[in-house]
């Protein structure tokens, strides 16, 4: 079974974000970039399914040359192949555009793929829209924010997280599944894996090669401004005997903040 797993290079979650007000973009200098945390669950799940059922895992990223680093990581974890779809544009925050590229890529290069795995969102754009849009463009089913996945022949059953409950989703393959924390515990790459990954060539596919005319990928998102949120002011800090501070908390919430 051919499994595609889509990954994105993102700043790690401990990063402090700075904004270039002139270009309305995130300052990349000084940021530590990683494989998206949710994408990592998707990669691990792909490897586990391959381990149980056989087949091939292909890691794919849409981005610039810098994304080769995270594709190497996927190979080191155990992916069989990796492909970079080279996008000349920096972050557009436009899920539709990315989804169009991915859907066209799947149709052109991997029409027989049975399972398309994603992280439930990229960490940064936080859009949570590419997996569902890809599923729509390909006319296949989807299960998003998945914490459990069982593949059996041409079907799969996924448990997806909703507010205070889980939905059991029955899928006919091919299908799109996006991974949530809790799906699995991603493996660390081994030294042997890292050495092997260095030897695997990573083909680069261009946007033109996928037959896009430039205007087709015109972003639908027109950025007006990027800014930092207003800083919160530190409030009052008290110390003292526990019973007294407990009383002060409730008094603050009841009389000042008027919340309870």
């Amino acid at each position: 079974m051919e499994i595609l797993v889509f990954v994105k290079r993102v700043p790690d979650t401990e990063s402090k974000i700075r904004i270039n007000q002139e270009t309305n973009s995130v300052v990349e200098e000084g940021l530590n970039f990683i494989l998206g945390p949710y994408d990592e669950y998707a990669v691990e799940e792909a490897l586990r399914i391959k381990g149980a059922k056989g087949g091939k895992v292909v890691a794919v990223s849409v981005g610039r040359d810098e994304s080769l680093v995270i594709l190497r990581k996927c190979l080191a974890m155990g992916a069989d192949e990796a492909v970079l779809i080279k996008d000349p544009l920096p972050e557009t925050y436009d899920g539709l555009r990315t989804a169009r590229i991915i859907a066209r890529f799947v149709q052109a290069k991997f029409p027989a793929a049975r399972l398309l795995l994603f992280g439930k969102q990229s960490v940064g754009a936080d859009n949570s829209q590419v997996p569902a849009m890809v599923a729509e463009f390909l006319g296949i089913g989807q299960a998003n924010v998945v914490v459990k996945l069982e593949v059996d022949g041409d079907t799969a059953v996924a448990l997806r997280e909703i507010e205070g409950a889980q939905e059991k989703v029955s899928l006919t393959l091919p299908a799109v599944v996006s991974a949530q924390k809790g799906l699995n515990e991603p493996r660390y790459e081994t030294l042997k894996g890292i050495m092997m990954a260095k030897k695997i060539p990573i083909p680069i596919v261009s946007i033109e090669e996928l037959g896009f005319k430039p205007e087709e990928l015109e972003p639908r998102v027109a950025i007006v401004k990027m800014d930092l949120p207003p800083a919160r002011q530190a409030g009052r800090v008290v110390t003292g005997e526990a019973a007294e501070t407990a009383r002060q908390i409730v008094e603050y919430l009841h009389n000042e903040a008027k919340i309870i």
Partner: protein, 323 residues
């Protein structure tokens, strides 16, 4: 027209859908148009009255047995048909689990962009401008969509639900469910034990971090939660990664980004990825032993002290308030 998708659970309208409808009505006034609602499922007619009291001029009703249980593909097909028929200026969703599943599917079907998880919408020169948090709230992105209709999802717990009387005329819609070969179907909904409300929907979140010292002590937070209506128990990443509590409780950049009225943090130092996920809470109260904990930089009210000493009298004070 602005069309609002109304989400139901157990035949009840979700509060976040009323928030969205209220905002849709506010925007519709600015755009000099009307706010309409769409409901899918069975036995939904009784709910239409609730929507008229939140400003829906019309309620488009798909009452059909195959729509009784949520299916992304069928719901997207029904909504796309309605959008073609009505040509609304915008379609609004709540950015709930269902909204995040459905809105992008509809947007792709219509070939338009999606403004996801917005926390502010304004009308500028007759068109919509959106603001949404990126990097879990470490930055804000203001943008417009260049495609039409504007498909938008709004973050729950941000926009107020404001009653406003309107006609709420029921219009019955028919749907043809296309047969797709590769389908996904929800076959069962598994309720979490205790029917706790989700941290993303709670008015008050009582959260614990590494300072809780072990899974058994999260019981203390559940006891506080039992004393506060519409509250839920949250956790920091380190508590979740130590398996003290399930990840669905995690608040922060790899958990949930939330905006409750009150965030009560116990034994949470305030890592940057955690602060990102909760700093849009209206009020933050923190209890921590370490006076230098970064959480105190964002807390409206902080207590430097031992949470295990503070919680028992805090529970007593809360009980006093209730009685």
């Amino acid at each position: 027209m602005i069309l609002t998708y109304i989400e139901t659970r157990d035949k009840k309208i979700k509060k976040s859908s009323l928030e969205v409808l209220s905002e849709a009505r506010r925007i519709a006034v600015d755009l000099k148009t009307e706010a309409a609602a769409v409901l899918l499922g069975t036995g939904m007619e009784a709910l239409a009255a609730d929507l008229s009291s939140y400003g829906a001029s019309k309620v488009h009703l798909f009452d059909s047995a195959p729509l009784d249980r949520y299916s992304t593909q069928d719901y997207a097909a029904a909504l796309a048909g309605l959008v073609k028929k009505l040509s609304p200026a915008a379609v609004f969703f709540s950015a709930t689990a269902m909204g995040k599943d459905l809105a992008p599917r509809l947007a792709a079907r219509l070939g338009v962009g999606l403004a996801a998880d917005c926390t502010r919408i304004s009308v500028q020169d007759g068109s919509l401008e959106f603001t949404r948090p990126i990097f879990a709230g470490k930055a804000l992105l203001a943008f417009r969509l260049t495609s039409s209709p504007q498909v938008v999802s709004l973050r729950p717990n941000i926009f107020p639900a404001v009653p406003a009387a309107a006609a709420g005329e029921i219009i019955r819609e028919a749907v043809e469910i296309p047969s797709a070969a590769a389908r996904a179907e929800v076959t069962e909904v598994l309720q979490e034990s205790g029917g706790e409300i989700d941290v993303s929907e709670a008015d008050v979140v009582i959260s614990g971090g590494r300072g809780m010292k072990g899974p058994e002590n999260f019981e203390l937070l559940r006891e506080i939660s039992a004393l506060i209506p519409r509250s839920a128990v949250g956790a920091s990443r380190s508590a979740v990664d130590s398996n003290w509590i399930g990840h669905q409780h995690q608040v922060g950049q790899t958990g949930k980004t939330i905006s409750p009225n009150l965030y009560l943090a116990f034994g949470i130092s305030g890592a940057i990825q955690h602060i990102a996920g909760m700093s849009s809470s209206k009020v933050i109260v923190a209890v921590n032993k370490d006076p230098d904990a970064p959480i105190f930089k964002v807390a409206d009210f902080g207590v430097v002290g031992d949470l295990f000493q503070v919680i028992p009298p805090l529970k007593e004070e809360l009980k006093k308030l209730r009685s």
